[in-house]
């Protein structure tokens, strides 16, 4: 699979040259594949949100390059069009950015800024609403009357309606109940499967990452600690534990089983894999 988005030796400072200077990212390099769902994990303050704002050009790296389809987005000769429509960013707690009178108008804000005709806008809004698993009745309501989880889904639909080739979501499930979380992730998966976009999900929940991602990038204190397919990252669970990060519960159980003498692969991280692995191990016995 080809590479969609790439960071090369990116360093980023907040308030460079002032008394409040913070080095948020330190020589970060990684690549995100086409059509993949990539998880970006790390403690609070490890630089995840900063990365998100670099992806769609809201912030400029102090040093290093951000490449989209192999082209440097900060190059003077860059001709890729407006970046925010190609790399859609759902910021943390996006429900607080809703402002229109109706859900329809709010979701349509992005596509209208993109310069779509009203017919196209209508189609895009309908698609976006179905991605996040809502019914068209909601479109006439005021976004301020919805529940927290519904608002969140409307906000995410607002970005999906721009049909970005890369969808970045900063903690899309933070503060939601398990059913709400599942709804959101199902919607994200639906978007990827239908449009073929690459998706980057930021989270500090290992469970969600293990369940929904293909690749995982682990950030620690502004640096990339681990990166690769999720199995290989969770196989390095010692390193994760040493850095004080969680590992998925399933992986923890499998590690304990292995420590206690059962010959299983301790890198599995989903329920289905674990069941298959256990059946295999017991058949061998």
């Amino acid at each position: 699979m080809s590479i969609k988005l790439e960071l090369q030796n990116v360093t980023y400072y907040y308030g460079k040259g002032t008394a409040f200077e913070v080095k948020a990212l330190d020589n970060v390099s990684f690549a995100v594949k086409e059509r993949s769902i990539t998880g970006l994990i790390g403690h609070t303050g490890s630089g995840k949100s900063t990365l998100a704002q670099l992806f769609n050009g809201l912030e400029k790296p102090t040093e290093g390059k951000v490449l989209l389809d192999g082209a440097d987005i900060w190059d003077k000769k860059y001709k890729g069009g407006r970046l925010c429509f190609r790399v859609g960013l759902v910021m943390q707690y996006p429900e607080y950015q809703l402002f229109e009178e109706t859900v329809f108008n709010d979701i349509a804000f992005g596509p209208r800024n993109k310069g779509m005709s009203e017919d196209e806008v209508k189609q895009l809004v309908m698609d976006a609403v179905s991605f996040v698993g809502m019914t068209p009745e909601i479109l006439e309501q005021s976004p301020f009357d919805l529940s927290g989880g519904q608002k969140r889904r409307v906000a995410i639909a607002g970005i999906m309606a721009m049909q970005p080739e890369v969808l970045v979501l900063d903690e899309p499930a933070a503060g939601l109940d398990p059913a709400g979380r599942a709804d959101i992730f199902a919607g994200i998966k639906r978007y990827r499967d239908t449009t073929g976009a690459s998706v980057i999900i930021i989270s500090h929940s290992m469970e969600d990452m293990a369940e929904y991602c293909d690749d995982v990038i682990v950030m620690h204190k502004g640096k990339v600690m681990l990166t690769g397919p999720k199995d290989s990252v969770f196989a390095d669970s010692d390193k994760l534990v040493a850095a004080g990060l969680d590992i998925p519960q399933i992986t923890r159980v499998m590690r304990l089983l292995k420590e206690n003498g059962l010959d299983v692969d301790a890198s599995v991280c989903t329920k289905d894999q674990a069941v298959a692995e256990l059946i295999r191990a017991f058949k061998l016995k």
């Binding site: 308030g15 002032t18 008394a19 409040f20 704002q53 769609n56 809201l58 407006r82 925010c84 429509f85 859609g88 960013l89 759902v90 910021m91 996006p94 607080y96 950015q97 809703l98 402002f99 804000f109 992005g110 800024n113 993109k114 301020f144 607002g158 970005i159 721009m162």
Partner: protein
């Protein structure tokens, strides 16, 4: 952006940072009085010397200090120009004249004095207050200095609580505004294009979420304060007490002496007197 919101407080460890904010507030007032009472060169020399002393004592880098003057350069240039060109001296020969403008010695001096007055006042109060005292410490100090007015049934505590809350939330709301702006930019909103009406309209996607969030925060804060049994100023004690140290008293005495010195300079008639 955030640095402006924080009143440009410059975190450092210096004798000025350590001083009691109440004393700093009093000295700042004395300072402004001194700047206005100054009438001749010797007085201004003393005033300038005290500015330099304050800058050194505060340990704020000179670059930062000069940076804060950017905003007043325009006012400074304007007042100096007005003083030079529009001051008329009866019965004296103009030094230079052109069209309707006439420049007199008195005009030059009053321009110089005004410039020194503005500069020393701004640098002095910045050093004493904004750079070395957090806004919260400042309102706290104000409340304590004004607390005798309580007996006149003035709501001193409530007023300063409102001030502290407002100050406390300026950075929070600025941060929030930045976040909302970033979020709307990510949806393709532009804030700098088009004519005036278009630009005002483009603020709607920021202002509505911002107001919604300000009200939400206000209600949450009110609930949180009620839950902790806040019911106004009567009988409240403080977590931090302000202590005056011997140093504070000494500095206060020196400042009063300096003020007296500057005022008495006016009677000596050294150099040019306005």
């Amino acid at each position: 952006m955030k640095n402006i919101a924080l009143g440009q407080y410059y975190p450092a460890r210096s004798p000025l940072h350590r001083m009691d904010p109440r004393i700093k507030l009093i000295i700042a007032v004395l300072y402004i009085v001194a700047a206005f009472l100054c009438k001749n060169l010797l007085g201004f020399a003393l005033l300038a010397a005290s500015v330099v002393l304050l800058v050194i004592l505060s340990r704020v880098p000179l670059k930062t200090v000069l940076g804060s003057l950017k905003m007043v350069v325009f006012i400074l240039v304007l007042t100096v120009a007005i003083n030079i060109f529009l001051t008329k001296e009866e019965g004296a020969e103009p030094l230079w004249s052109f069209w309707i403008f006439e420049v007199y010695t008195k005009g030059l001096y009053s321009a110089l004095f005004i410039a020194l007055r503005i500069l020393s006042m701004i640098i002095g109060t910045c050093m004493l207050l904004t750079y070395t005292t957090t806004p919260i410490a400042l309102t706290d100090a104000l409340e304590r200095l004004l607390s005798p007015l309580r007996h006149l049934k003035l709501p001193v505590h409530e007023f300063s609580m409102m001030m502290s809350i407002a100050l406390r939330f300026i950075p929070t709301i600025m941060e929030e505004a930045e976040k909302i702006m970033a979020a709307q930019k990510a949806r393709g909103a532009g804030f700098t294009e088009g004519n005036l009406i278009k630009r005002i309209k483009s603020l709607i996607p920021i202002l509505i979420p911002l107001f919604a969030s300000v009200f939400r925060r206000a209600f949450e804060l009110a609930t949180a304060m009620t839950c902790r049994c806040y019911r106004g100023g009567d009988g409240r004690t403080r977590m931090t007490t302000m202590r005056m140290h011997a140093m504070d008293i000494i500095v206060l005495i020196v400042s009063v002496a300096a003020l007296a010195g500057i005022v008495s300079c006016n009677y000596w008639n050294i150099g040019y007197t306005l």
